[in-house]
């Protein structure tokens, strides 16, 4: 019986990479070359002149992708996903763990149940529902729809983050970026909000449902309920 592939590594300079995870057990590649490695994992590279490469694999497949530019799109439930690219557009629908780093690519993530590390220089970062977010950006904006726990650092990028208010700790630190916190559910976390020269606005009484800490030098801070 052929074992279900659990991990693939994709290296592509500029070919668009589309990964589709589904309920099957097969691994197949269109527009690329698949080779098995001694450690049981698989390496994928685009064929000559190929513009778009499609990879179909089983659910919970772990995927690492290294590209210079080009679109990276992943759909279906994936395991650990690691992506390093300079530019382009990255869309990941669903992953258990994530590590994405880029100079200027736009990053969109639907959901990530576990650790979600994102490092961006100037690209926009937009995360949906994440378990534990660690996001840093120099000038790109960061939007997190709903995070259990999060640590966000930017220099000048604005940050918008939703928290459940049912526990979990959110920490946002920026130099000049604005911070917007949104309590998605009914709880009240403890607040620690400080801005040296920016406006701080929060009308929610401090509670014990986790914590929300935001600090900035010149950015404004605003916390509200949804």
């Amino acid at each position: 019986m052929t074992p279900v592939p659990t991990r693939i590594s994709i290296a592509s300079r500029s070919t668009a990479v589309i990964v589709i995870a589904s309920g099957g057990t097969e691994l197949s590649v269109e527009g690329g070359l698949l080779s098995s490695l001694p450690d049981g994992t698989f390496a994928v590279a685009p064929g000559p002149g190929v513009k778009v490469m499609h990879v179909h694999g089983p659910a919970r497949l772990a995927v690492t992708v290294g590209t210079s530019s080009g679109t990276i799109k992943m759909s279906g439930p994936l395991g650990r996903v690691a992506i390093v690219t300079r530019s382009g557009r990255i869309h990941i629908a669903e992953a258990e763990e994530l590590d994405v780093r880029t100079t200027s690519a736009v990053i969109e993530v639907g959901s990530c149940t576990g650790d979600c590390h994102v490092v961006s220089t100037s690209g926009k970062v937009k995360l949906g529902h994440v378990g534990e977010a660690h996001v840093s950006s120099v000038s790109g904006s960061v939007t997190v729809g709903l995070a259990g726990t999060a640590e966000v650092r930017t220099i000048s990028g604005n940050v918008s983050i939703g928290m459940a208010g049912t526990g979990g700790n959110i920490t946002v630190r920026t130099v000049s970026g604005a911070v917007e916190g949104v309590l998605v559910n009914g709880g009240s976390p403890s607040f620690s909000l400080s801005s040296v020269s920016g406006r701080v606005e929060c009308n929610i009484p401090s509670g014990n449902d986790g914590s929300f800490a935001a600090s900035t030098t010149s950015g404004a801070i605003r916390v509200s309920r949804q």
């Binding site: 590594s9 994709i10 290296a11 300079r13 690492t64 992708v65 290294g66 590209t67 210079s68 690691a82 992506i83 390093v84 690219t85 300079r86 590590d99 780093r101 100079t103 590390h117 490092v119 660690h134 840093s136 120099v138 650092r153 220099i155 000048s156 630190r173 920026t174 130099v175 000049s176 040296v196 600090s215 030098t217 010149s218």
Partner: protein, 172 residues
């Protein structure tokens, strides 16, 4: 003729230092750099040395790969304590094991360039390592190396395998 010796090449870079200087002024910038100089001097093992300062960054050399990674972690811990109260300062660190050419007290060559490019990919508070550095180091108690996959590094033809070093909370 210059000499080539194997060792760990480590770059540090203060993230957004220009913005910090713009927001807080030259006195704060100088205070941060003076502080950095002091803490680097205090955490460097006998196997490590500062090759040179590069604005707000440093080029470090270690003859021992494990010491390079451990020292990088100690530096990150120091930076978490905020050198100047009220000013968020983060450093990113990247390292590679290679055989650079020595020109007097300086090092040059492909491996130095690669270490610099690896640092560009690190986020604030992170330590990124080439697979070569991790291989030279071997396992370190309390450290987890997470593979980031094949990475196309600017100026290099072939992808490079990178790892993110993360420390267990008990050691952090």
């Amino acid at each position: 003729m210059s000499v080539a010796v194997s060792g760990a090449i480590v770059f540090t870079d203060i993230v957004g230092f220009t913005d910090v200087t713009d927001q807080h002024g030259d006195d704060a910038a100088e205070e941060i750099l003076t502080w950095q100089e002091k803490i680097v001097g205090s955490v460097l093992p006998p196997t490590g040395k500062v090759i040179k300062e590069l604005g707000d960054g440093l080029l470090l050399w270690f003859s021992n790969a494990r010491h390079a990674i451990e020292t990088s972690h100690r530096l990150q811990q120091c930076f978490e304590e905020q050198p100047v109260p009220g000013i968020a300062v983060w450093v990113r660190i990247g390292g590679h094991w290679g055989k650079p050419r020595w020109r007097g007290d300086d090092i040059i060559g492909r491996d130095v360039n690669l270490a610099s490019r690896i640092t560009d990919l690190a986020g604030p508070g992170e330590v990124l390592c080439s697979a070569a550095l991790v291989h030279a180091s071997g396992p370190i108690a309390g450290v987890r190396f997470e593979e980031l996959g094949p990475v196309f590094v600017r100026g290099f033809g072939e992808p490079v395998l990178l790892m993110r070093a993360s420390w267990e909370p008990s050691d952090a």
